[in-house]
């Protein structure tokens, strides 16, 4: 695309042509189409789900705001409470996942040890493990415990789900530092622990932050496992939305959805800025 300003110069090998670029843009448009549709629908002035809407208005936003400030008596739980739970669980997930992922990433990049291959495989297990089975399995575990866990069992589940993302990002950040920095600190008299805490960890700050953001996003958007583990008085926003729309889809949900997508988009954009394009590891 950038070469087209020159005279009719042929594309160099390794540059994508206009056709491939347009095709990719079209496919990506299809990939985000459900999200875009939802955003358009939230501004609908009609009461049905026809697309495109026959008129546009902010009526669903008003209705959504009304739901938020004065919850119906029919709802078991208000959106405010669900939002509070979601944010609490997401923040705790972010903190715990990061605290346990940083030392793990250190071991995986800096140490040669027996069982490393096994450890690496285990770390990516939650990525491919069927979510429904994870939900079922954790439900079995938590139900057989003699004491009640409500919010904490959601946090444990979300930490397991977010762990691979955080470890991958921290590992990538640590690989970029090089062990000579740490060795230099050790030469200058720092203990191994100080070399890690004062030198290595600050240097990999952006990778850690990226992992934290991803952990937050994963937890904030998680539905399947939470669906198995929620209790009637502790539910997250996605569960709240599902319980509200299980019988019929009412368009106020689209306004909530737009809010969530907006939060996600800001976080993703921040994530990309932090680690540079192509730097997010999965």
């Amino acid at each position: 695309m950038s070469v087209s300003s020159n005279k009719r110069q042929a594309l160099l090998p390794g540059e994508t042509g206009r056709v491939a670029g347009l095709l990719s843009a079209f496919i990506l448009l299809l990939a985000v189409l459900p999200i875009l549709t939802m955003i358009v629908m939230s501004f609908s002035g009609a009461a049905n789900l026809d697309f495109p809407p026959s008129s546009y208005s902010l009526q669903w936003y008003r209705a959504a705001w009304h739901t938020f400030v004065s919850p119906d008596a029919s709802d078991v739980l208000s959106l405010g409470q669900a939002m509070g739970t979601s944010l609490l669980v997401a923040c705790l997930t972010m903190i715990f996942a990061t605290l346990i992922a940083v030392p793990a990433a250190y071991a995986l990049t800096r140490c040669e040890f027996r069982g490393k291959a096994v450890a690496l495989q285990l770390m990516s297990l939650p990525l491919v493990f069927p979510m429904v089975v994870l939900g079922l399995a954790l439900l079995l575990v938590f139900d057989s415990l003699p004491f009640q866990m409500t919010t904490s069992r959601l946090v444990i589940a979300h930490v397991i789900l977010a762990l691979p993302f955080v470890v991958k990002n921290c590992t990538a950040a640590m690989l970029g530092i090089g062990s000579e920095v740490e060795e230099a600190a050790r030469m200058l008299g720092a203990t191994p622990r100080r070399a890690i805490v004062d030198v290595v960890v600050p240097l990999m700050k952006s990778g850690i932050l990226a992992g934290m953001l991803l952990a937050f996003i994963v937890s904030f958007n998680e539905f399947t496992v939470t669906y198995f583990l929620y209790t009637i008085d502790v539910m997250t926003v996605p569960i709240w939305m599902y319980s509200r729309t299980v019988s019929s889809l009412d368009p106020t949900v689209f306004s909530f959805a737009v809010l969530i997508v907006l939060i996600d988009f800001v976080l993703i954009w921040a994530l990309e800025k932090l680690v540079g394009e192509g730097g997010v590891s999965f």
């Binding site: 950038s2 594309l11 090998p13 390794g14 994508t16 042509g17 491939a20 095709l23 990719s24 496919i27 990506l28 448009l29 299809l30 990939a31 985000v32 189409l33 459900p34 999200i35 549709t37 939802m38 697309f51 346990i100 030392p103 793990a104 071991a107 140490c111 040669e112 040890f113 027996r114 285990l122 491919v128 069927p130 979510m131 429904v132 089975v133 994870l134 079922l136 399995a137 954790l138 439900l139 079995l140 575990v141 057989s144 444990i156 397991i160 050790r186 030469m187 200058l188 008299g189 203990t191 958007n221 998680e222 399947t224 669906y227 689209f254 997508v261 993703i268 954009w269 192509g278 999965f282």
Partner: protein
């Protein structure tokens, strides 16, 4: 601070501090907090395995293979086959769509465009599947966008049913798992140095030939990884068949949940869950084997 270093001269020598653990013990010490959480996951899956051979009513003490036998009944067998078929088709379609996108992404020069592309790839992966399914409900409904487009193009006379059948579910599966195909393929293609493409072009290959005979074979490990991820992800997909399929497209994950929520049949749910785990692990191992072999071949040829 300085005299502290002097009073502990032994810490100056790297790798040989006084109370040094063996490297293996030290590494596992660092890994132990994460392993605690992963241990919960493993213990939980073992419980599922135990539960799957239990009997209803005496889940922890009984032993029978009845739940697995039940999976061989036509209804369940059909669900298993349906799950595998939809996962396979969605993996093929997702990879075919992902290849041009990944190639474009790996060769984009403008930083802004790269960020926009990456955001468009990450959104479907990270945004709550429930919300995306709501979007699909609007697109696929009888008066939805797709039906209107098809009528507008004169391809159909009356709205066709897209919701609550396999077509709708398949579209949802492809879209939600699409990023899992793009990301590994893009990273594999970024690894193919431009000099190979230039060499091929110098030798007279057309642009398409360069792509078809150089870039594509060299990024095959990424393509296999992408296909595997999509397959595994969709084989256990829950939200998409639940919302877009109603109860008419009973994929395995939906059955697992149905066995618990209305039926309270824990052994049956666990047996179906074990089948899901085994399927996933099998496909991952196979893919690992093929990509490993392919990678070694590529390395040997360079």
């Amino acid at each position: 601070m300085e005299h502290q270093a002097l009073t502990h001269p032994q810490s100056v020598a790297p790798m040989r501090s006084r109370r040094s653990l063996s490297p293996t013990a030290r590494a596992w010490f660092f890994l132990s907090p994460s392993m605690l959480f992963l241990g919960v996951l493993i213990a939980a899956s073992l419980l599922v395995l135990r539960m799957s051979v239990g009997t209803k009513g005496a889940e922890w003490s009984g032993f029978s293979l009845a739940s697995y036998g039940q999976l061989l009944e036509p209804y369940y067998l059909k669900s298993l086959l349906l799950t595998l078929r939809l996962a396979l088709i969605s993996a093929v379609i997702a990879v075919l769509l992902a290849i041009p996108v990944a190639y474009t992404m790996s060769r984009l020069a403008s930083p802004l465009l790269r960020r926009v592309f990456l955001a468009a790839v990450l959104l479907p992966l990270l945004v709550n599947l429930l919300l995306q399914s709501y979007g699909w409900l609007v697109i696929l409904g009888p008066a939805g966008m797709l039906n209107q487009a098809l009528i507008g193009l004169g391809l159909i006379k009356r709205p066709i049913m897209l919701l609550y059948n396999q077509n709708g579910v398949l579209m949802g599966l492809v879209q939600t798992a699409f990023p899992l195909a793009v990301l590994p393929i893009a990273s594999a293609m970024r690894g193919v140095a431009r000099s190979y493409e230039e060499a091929a072009a110098t030798l007279g290959a057309s642009r398409f030939q360069v792509f078809r005979q150089v870039v594509l074979p060299m990024s095959l490990p990424g393509i296999i990884t992408g296909a595997t991820l999509v397959f595994a992800y969709n084989a256990s997909s829950f939200v998409v068949p639940l919302l877009l399929g109603g109860r008419r497209v009973p994929m395995l994950a939906v059955m697992v949940h149905d066995q618990i929520a209305p039926l309270m049949n824990w052994p049956a749910a666990s047996a179906a869950g074990v089948v899901l785990i085994v399927t996933t692990l099998l496909i991952m191992t196979l893919s690992e084997y093929f990509t490993g072999r392919r990678r070694r071949m590529l390395e040997a040829s360079q």
